[in-house]
Symmetry: C3
Subunit: 441 residues, 3 copies
């Protein structure tokens, strides 16, 4: 069981929590959210935020249909109660209640009999994966449709079907959740995830779970930065948020879009548009020193909400943290992206790596060697091994020498770690020891 | 047949001309020029320009012997009527009329009997390629000689020979041709080729043909840049031209030296001394996206007239566009560089690649995204696929997103193409579509 | 025999001395210094400087115990007359007179009987190399001990031993040697070696020999730079020298720490902290063009006295020139680093490479092409081959063209050599020829 008792000002402490327990907790949240039929607007999204509220004190915002947000307009709100295709015998051949992916998301209502020939153009399948239901949407064109497995499709006969989508597409609002954690500084770290996909575990729920647990644990310490967590519908959500918060955006010094962090694939980090932002270097450092195979990819202007955060008018230092990247796993946007595909240990590993990167951001500063001319005598301070002996403190001597040599005001601890090829933690520990002895400032 | 009817302001249109026909036309010009005995001065050079005048309105310049051009002096004019070595039977053993390579170019007149021993020191052969005649010159040292195949040489007997070179080396002038095409801007693109080699097809005539046909077709559109084409003798020609036109040289914004563009070898591009000039990047882009093996080499201060254009006092952005580079093919400067070695399809391919590079230069500008904050909604403008549908225009969506994301005033279309790894044409098409919809400026 | 007659202002001339003879001379010096028991202070160090004085006019400095030097204090002076471990039969089982490595350097005096159990904690061996005596020190913690081969150790019985170290650790001074050679300029080249190790040939004596012979031969020419040679105890010596000479340090424009230059391993060059100092580029150039395998490594803040010279408060352009680097050869800091390990030919090769690098430093300047617009006509100056002939001077034509093209005031000769891939000597020769003809300034 995860306890709430941790009270520390040190992010590092959270990093030594029991990974197994955290993975289980995150997986439990994913499981709880899985059945809900989310979309970019509507009650499914609200229900999702309600559940997240059990973990963190989320603020829920409603933005009315028709609100102009930059070049876009907040769309009508979509809600759905039921949907099916019935055969002549009255049997539900395709049933929304069994899997909400069966309905093309944002389908307009329909209720009529129609021959197979007419129905066919509204059906979507994946012939290459005949047992999977695809995920399709039609947000910006009023239309309707059903998604089904290719096996189901092949079993359909050339007869008349009763088609019903009991949905509404009406004036309403776009909903999003925001959690703000005040740190020592007004400077912010932005953590954003999209929460608009229905029953898809990796591409959506894993990111939601990671953001939720990062928020939950960070709220137990006093971080240097303030943290802002966004749970938003993809694209229109980030556009809406940026439009409403344009004046405050300058505070964002670092950011991550989280998505696809529960699958067994290798980590993938997509750099911010700037390419060498501190968050980019921090995540790259963590993945490099993880000893795990991973991929670092340059920014490109499609993918998730980093598209908007990194549009040229904002160009925020926001990268995208993933395991398998979208389109690189066959389960992507199909019913196979389910509770089997995502597993607790991968969620926990993602939590741990993300926290390590944030730990770097929190602690990355330049220091000033107080004895810049020649080395200080570490031995007389117990920081250097004597003959056949051991240094008093378990600090790596070479790390000490690196920190001293590069603490010239121009190198941060991350610079030193990268240049020396030491792990950030070892460099931080060395800097702490030197600080304690008055050798750094 | 190539028609002259093309009237378009768009360089792209020329690029879709029938390559086969153009290759044939270029080869015809090469064939017509092949028999002429050219040198750095003299009537062979004038005759060559006369033929080029059938294609473009060339201006012919004459610069008198003795004119000081920087550190050099325009040399005496060389002309030749006949030359031979006759044996005792009166047979022409070596005959200038059969191949003008037989005479060392710029040989002073000679007419006498001499024993083989004396003659020998005036004979040049290629023992490694015993059936080829080498090409030799002696521009700056008054001397005479014959070039012959090693087989011919071995057949010579130790007897007396009659040696005759009916040449003149007298006060006269250096001749060069210039074609200026006025564009929208005074800024110039310089296209230069040397035209001083006698019967050598690749190293000389191919470059002349390419420059001629580029001039011919560019003259049919209204280009952005003005174009200046030079048909000059190597080294002394570029030095003379630079010396006479020093005051106007600042207008040259891009340039190419063309040579060796008709052989079957891979393309080779030698960068300008600057190394990252726009013309360098344009040619490299074209070759990279051609899918063909090719070589990009750094500038070095020997080779062709880029030596002079890129001398430190000028340092012009002029690269050298070739197929096989000099010295990398055994036919170089031998009688094997003939009408078999150069072929129409290679000439046409060189024409096409060169034009593609000039097309980039013509169209490479930075644009400004008019909706820099978040992405504009492409869907409502028909620029984005709807469900199961197609975008209205055949524009690559990802190319649109790249252009929007990087049109921040700091990236030109070529920058965007290089960063996105899209072909320049796709990026240009995307930019045109966005311009049309008012999304770029 | 090495003669002293060389009188030339040209460093290049020294480079063509007989390498074999120089190697023998250097080896003789190493052999002479080998038996002395040196330490960071004391008579062994003084004796060493006395011998070096036979070669160069060394100035000897004495810095009293207790002198504050930055964060450090000059330690007590250590001297030793004898030391041994005797068994019950009165036999010297371990004998300082046989090898001065047997005593832990800086051991306090001891003279008593003790059981093996007590003695054991004062004994140091190398179980992996059972026939070697390790080298150990205890400068900054008062303590005593013996080093012996593991074979000797295993032969010890569990009985009582007489232990004697007849040493003194008292107020005195730290000694170092300095040789200053006045050049044309006040700007200095610093050559430093540590001279505090007892009977160790590569890690110490080879560096001393190299510094001594460089000084000896450079004193016979009139160099452009002034040269300062330091023979100092490691760490405390460089700290002391820097502390006493802080005000003059700004004159040091280039520097090398010399160590481990007599073994058969490949050359290793450790760059200065700046990473692209002229000395770094010069040594790298020499090693690259040597055709020998070698290693170039980035600066790291441990190793030899470059640690102090490159501390952030000084950040001097000082690299470290070695063959095998410390810790990369098993003989390091053991009795196997002896007169067999170091050989004359390796010493001579190190001398030659070092001199080549200094030759670059001495001659590396930017020149200005006096005919920057187009190439000057080399032929009329006899610098270019005529037909079938040879250039008058044995200068590489391509090197001439490179020097002309890049002598724009922004490139030094080393820049030109690196860019053209020519050896520095060829470029220097070309520049000299051009200077002679007034084509450069």
């Amino acid at each position: 069981m995860i306890t709430d008792e941790i009270k520390t000002s040190n992010l590092s402490d959270i990093r030594f929590l029991n990974e197994h327990d955290i993975g289980q907790e995150m997986y439990r949240l994913v499981s709880e959210l899985y059945p809900i039929c989310r979309s970019i607007t509507g009650n499914g999204f609200r229900e999702t935020l309600d559940i997240i509220k059990d973990y963190i004190e989320l603020e829920v915002h409603e933005v009315p249909t028709g609100t102009e947000v930059f070049d876009w307009t907040v769309p009508k709100e979509w809600n759905i109660k039921d949907a099916y295709i019935k055969n002549l015998k009255g049997e539900r051949i395709v049933d929304f209640k069994k899997n909400n992916l069966h309905v093309v998301n944002y389908s307009v209502p329909v209720n009529k009999l129609m021959p197979f020939e007419e129905l066919k153009s509204h059906l979507f399948t994946l012939p290459d994966y005949p047992d999977r239901i695809p995920y399709r949407t039609s947000y910006y064109k009023e239309s309707w449709g059903f998604c089904l497995s290719h096996e189901q499709f092949l079993a359909l006969k050339d007869e008349e079907y009763e088609v019903c989508i009991d949905s509404t597409l009406e004036e309403g609002s776009l909903t999003y959740g925001e959690y703000y954690l005040q740190g020592e500084s007004e400077d912010e770290v932005l953590i954003s995830c999209h929460a608009c996909h229905p029953s898809l575990c990796n591409d959506n729920l894993s990111g939601i779970a990671l953001a939720t647990f990062l928020a939950k644990y960070l709220s137990q310490i006093s971080p240097r930065y303030s943290y802002r967590f966004l749970f938003i519908p993809g694209t229109i959500g980030s556009i809406t948020w940026l439009s409403l918060n344009e004046a405050q955006v300058y505070r964002i010094k670092h950011g991550l879009v989280l998505t696809g962090v529960g699958d067994p694939g290798n980590f993938t980090y997509k750099k911010s548009r700037r390419g060498n932002a501190e968050i980019d270097r921090a995540v790259i450092h963590v993945l490099k020193h993880s000893g795990l195979e991973h991929a670092i990819i340059d920014f490109f202007p499609f993918g998730y909400d980093e598209r908007q955060f990194c549009s040229p008018g904002f160009n925020l230092p926001v990268g995208c943290f993933m395991r398998s990247s979208h389109g690189h796993y066959s389960e992507y946007h199909t019913s196979a992206d389910n509770l089997n595909f995502v597993q607790p240990q991968y969620l926990a590993d993602s939590f741990s790596k993300c926290l390590s990167a944030l730990n770097i951001i929190e602690n990355n500063k330049p220091y000033l060697n107080q004895n810049p001319k020649c080395e200080p005598q570490l031995g007389k301070r117990g920081l250097y091994r004597a003959i056949g002996g051991q240094a008093e403190e378990q600090v790596n001597e070479l790390a000490l020498l690196w920190v001293l040599n590069l603490s010239d005001g121009e190198h941060t601890l991350l610079d030193i770690a990268d240049k020396s090829n030491f792990d950030f933690d070892a460099i931080k520990k060395a800097a702490d020891a030197l600080l304690k002895h008055g050798l750094l400032k």
